[in-house]
């Protein structure tokens, strides 16, 4: 598809949007124009102001200054219904669907006035099927949402917006939960939509896909628009530079020198399912000193169970977990720490840090017993430890006495990374360690993990970012529905190969072959 002519009708205009949160200027005079039939990518690191801007567009926040207008008509500020009524639809990163309702029920939900009896599901289903056919969004209207895959749920979210006659669609990090094949299908759908005159804002921090799908790219940094380019006329290097404000070399990670001793082994391990997420099923895994082993795959396929197992939070229901060749007598977070396992949790807000604790208190969460003499905590020792991490891991903070919730995600992650690595672990569990981080912080985390590997640690990297897994790891496994694929060495598997494992198809073939 060709980029729309400059003269196409303007459907959305954000002008001079400014929003301040305390001392932080989240949006600083942002101008953004979206034309009919156009895909604009909104690119920026975490904390660049993308989410704030979209929240203002949707009326969740009122802007301190600036206006939002749809098709030339200004929207009243701070009224969440206004944007929806004007035909703007949003597909959130975290879906807002009711699992126990069917696809059609979810889509109709909230569109009918309360005083009208019945839901009109029959008519709605006809329309949903028509929309699904038109845009290549295959999904069965009578299926229960709880039984759908993540990719299908995303299609339901998109259909929900189309059903409400959205002319402008905003997608927030839509590929984060998709396999490469599913992402390709999504991009095809988006192209079909703009061909029919819809307009799309595509929020992402992944340069490759932004270039693949967008007509125009707008780059945000520190609340400001720092650059704008036609996708055809730019490249990844230039966009990355705009995003972080400095040229970034894409690091080539040297392969591990030689795999060392076996430190951790899983033999036929199963764990209980946790809520909707599957448990592990017959997982075999070996971690060797001086290597990075990556677990790729779409989140929600058992990665959480694997991480919880290695972190000491759960016990296997079948199979064995061996550290240094023996089954530990006790398996709990403290036992894992004592065995030399450093753990970087997936959810730094809920598991990695205590929001209202200051940096010092957070830095010693896993170390405070070392700092205790006769029941008394050495605050001097704690402050020294925190200062060491803050300096060595480049944690940007005005003071170590601030509650950690005031820090950006990247700085919070650096503190957690420092807390883990400074303890000198032999085994490092890094669960989605760069999720939500900007390019700079991501490179920093990668560098430190590789340095730890080179110093002899065994790193278990769980990541849904395939590029990260392939780029960093000496060995890659794919996790799907609680099962683990065989490991692939560097260069042994392409993204497309791994995609087949991610979708679960390759497991079936393996079963047939066996």
């Amino acid at each position: 598809m060709t980029a729309p002519a400059g003269g196409a009708r303007e459907v959305l205009r954000l002008q001079g949007i400014t929003r301040r949160f305390g001392p932080v200027l989240a949006n600083d005079g942002i101008d953004l124009v979206l034309r009919e039939g156009e895909i604009v990518a909104l690119l920026g690191e975490n904390g660049a102001g993308k989410t704030t801007l979209m929240n203002i567009l949707f009326g969740h926040y009122a802007a301190d200054a600036g206006t939002v207008s749809v098709c030339g008509r200004p929207l009243p500020p701070g009224r969440p219904g206004a944007a929806l009524a004007a035909g703007v639809g949003m597909v959130h990163q975290h879906f807002t669907l009711a699992d126990n309702l069917t696809v059609a029920e979810n889509i109709v939900l909230g569109t009918r006035p309360l005083w009208r009896p019945g839901l009109g599901l029959a008519q709605a289903s006809v329309r949903i099927s028509a929309l699904a056919r038109d845009f290549g969004l295959a999904v069965e209207p009578t299926a229960r949402v709880g039984s759908l895959t993540v990719g299908e749920r995303q299609r339901v979210e998109i259909l929900k917006a189309l059903f409400r006659d959205a002319r402008i669609l905003i997608l927030d990090e839509p590929t984060a939960v998709l396999t490469p094949q599913e992402s390709e299908a999504l991009f095809a759908t988006l192209k079909r939509m703009v061909a029919r005159g819809l307009s799309i804002i595509f929020i992402s921090h992944k340069l490759k896909e932004v270039l693949a799908v967008a007509d125009r790219v707008v780059v945000l940094r520190q609340g400001r628009v720092v650059g704008e380019a036609q996708a055809a006329g730019t490249d990844r290097g230039r966009l990355a530079e705009l995003m972080v404000g400095a040229a970034i070399r894409e690091a080539r990670v040297a392969p591990a020198a030689a795999a060392g001793a076996e430190l951790l082994r899983l033999e036929g391990v199963a764990t209980a399912p946790a809520g909707a997420a599957p448990g592990l099923r017959g997982v075999d895994l070996v971690l060797q000193a001086g290597t990075i082993t990556a677990i790729a795959g779409v989140s929600g396929n058992g990665q959480a169970a694997l991480a919880a197992l290695v972190a000491g939070l759960v016990l296997p229901t079948a199979g064995r977990l061996l550290v240094d060749g023996t089954v530990p007598a006790r398996w709990a977070p403290r036992a894992a720490l004592a065995a030399g396992i450093g753990r970087i949790p997936e959810d730094r807000h809920r598991e990695g840090a205590i929001a209202d604790f200051d940096l010092v208190e957070n830095a010693i969460l896993e170390r405070y017993s070392v700092l205790t003499r006769a029941g008394l905590l050495s605050w001097k020792g704690a402050r020294d430890w925190a200062a060491r991490i803050i300096a060595a891991y480049d944690v940007r903070t005005p003071s170590a006495d601030l509650p950690i919730r005031l820090l950006s995600g990247g700085n919070m992650q650096k503190l957690i990374l420092g807390r883990v690595l400074e303890a000198g672990p032999r085994i490092i569990l890094a669960n989605q360690p760069t999720r939500g981080l900007d390019v700079g912080a991501t490179a920093f985390v990668h560098g430190r993990l590789v340095a730890a590997r080179d110093a002899g640690a065994a790193v278990l990297l769980i990541s849904e970012d395939l590029d990260e897994a392939l780029g960093l790891a000496d060995r890659v496994h794919v996790m799907a529905r609680g099962r683990l694929s065989p490991g692939f060495g560097r260069g042994q598997a392409s993204a497309a190969d791994l995609g087949l494992w991610m979708s679960g198809e390759a497991f079936a073939e393996e079963a047939h072959a066996a």
């Binding site: 949160f21 305390g22 001392p23 009326g59 969740h60 926040y61 009122a62 802007a63 500020p77 701070g78 972190a311 000491g312 939070l313 709990a332 977070p333 403290r334 894992a336 720490l337 753990r343 949790p345 809920r350 598991e351 990695g352 840090a353 205590i354 929001a355 209202d356 604790f357 208190e361 969460l365 896993e366 405070y368 017993s369 205790t372 029941g375 008394l376 905590l377 605050w379 005031l406």
Partner: protein
């Protein structure tokens, strides 16, 4: 409408809002005094005079504050770890019960110092165990401790009532349901001979300082706060959440029980069902007003006690019912909680 956090509240906010809360409390109180046919200014004057207008009044206020400091500390400690102990009243009575069981003759002949230590320790143990049980139900089985601690209050009160009508009944009490009196050497002496203030008050101050030290200086205090603020992250980091909650329960229950011990040993000398006019519940108000700060508990307890003592005395002089004290406290609490919230948040329409 939504609440938005304020990163750095202005001085005007920090001073003005609590002042406004006090103003609102007084305004509500004034309205009610008028409705009861009194003159607001005169009534407020009488309350202040009754609470602190003389040495006698002041000491009476401090006496009344003593059990409130203990129950306030008990609640503050428990709430800090998000253990919702609504059962300080039960723990108080069990502490008092332990004191009269051991102190009315079972240990006759022991020296006073030994008796004091043993009675206080026994009281603490009784209260601690009384809260340990709901705490274990919470950590092991997920039973809501608000329900269990609240209901245990009634169970314990009826149990004490049964004992006072039965085995613990003082045969010389002419049929009244009350226990025998403590041995004289088991009593807590007065701080100054001739004045009613007893050593229980000093004990309460010491307890407040110790609790503050535990919370700020010890590893247990750190664990307690970590569990209270984010038990999931605490568990991830290897903090034994269940054990920390159990230890917190022992401390909280023990502190509440000291209120019962000090009332029996310091003030009344025996146990009746009139020992506590709801000190356990008022302790929640005290702890909330103090923002769960152990040192703040002392100030809040004295403030609350002053209003009760002052209102009693005002009621005798002005004929306005002393229930005004309950309303003033309830209003003060609500207004103060709101005011403190709005020092940290602002309402915005967007």
């Amino acid at each position: 409408m939504r609440l938005e956090p304020i990163a750095t509240p202005s001085v005007a906010r920090l001073v003005g809002l609590p002042a406004a809360a006090i103003g609102a409390t007084l305004a509500v109180g004034a309205g009610l005094v008028l409705a009861a046919g009194g003159a607001p200014l005169a009534v407020f004057g009488l309350i202040i005079e009754g609470a602190a207008g003389s040495r006698f009044a002041l000491l009476e206020t401090l006496n009344r504050a003593t059990p409130l400091i203990f129950t306030g500390l008990a609640v503050a400690v428990a709430f800090r770890a998000r253990l919702w102990n609504i059962g300080a009243e039960a723990q108080l009575y069990l502490g008092a019960l332990a004191a009269v069981v051991l102190g009315t003759g079972a240990l006759a002949g022991w020296p006073a110092a030994a008796l004091t230590v043993v009675l206080a320790a026994a009281a603490m143990a009784a209260g601690a165990l009384a809260l340990l049980f709901p705490a274990l139900l919470k950590t092991r089985l997920g039973v809501d401790e608000v329900v269990t601690t609240l209901l245990l209050n009634f169970v314990v009160l009826l149990f004490v009532s049964m004992l006072l009508e039965g085995p613990l009944k003082d045969p010389r009490a002419m049929g009244w349901p009350q226990s025998a009196r403590l041995l004289p050497e088991a009593r807590l002496p007065r701080i100054v001979e001739g004045l009613r203030l007893h050593w229980g008050f000093a004990l309460a101050l010491i307890a407040a300082v110790l609790v503050w030290l535990v919370q700020t200086r010890t590893t247990f205090g750190y664990e307690m706060r970590a569990v209270g603020l984010n038990s999931r992250a605490a568990a991830y980091a290897g903090i034994p959440v269940g054990r920390v909650i159990a230890k917190t329960a022992l401390l909280s229950g023990g502190l509440a029980a000291l209120a019962g011990y000090s009332e029996v040993a310091g003030l009344r000398g025996n146990l009746t069902l009139a020992l506590s006019p709801g000190f356990g519940y008022t302790g929640i108000i005290v702890a909330m007003l103090a923002l769960l700060n152990p040192l703040g508990v002392v100030a809040a307890a004295i403030f609350v006690a002053g209003i009760f003592v002052g209102a009693d005395s005002m009621s005798r002089a002005a004929g306005v019912p002393s229930y005004i004290a309950d309303i003033l406290l309830a209003t003060a609490l609500l207004a103060m909680v709101l005011a403190l919230m709005f020092t940290r948040f602002r309402l915005s329409r967007g």
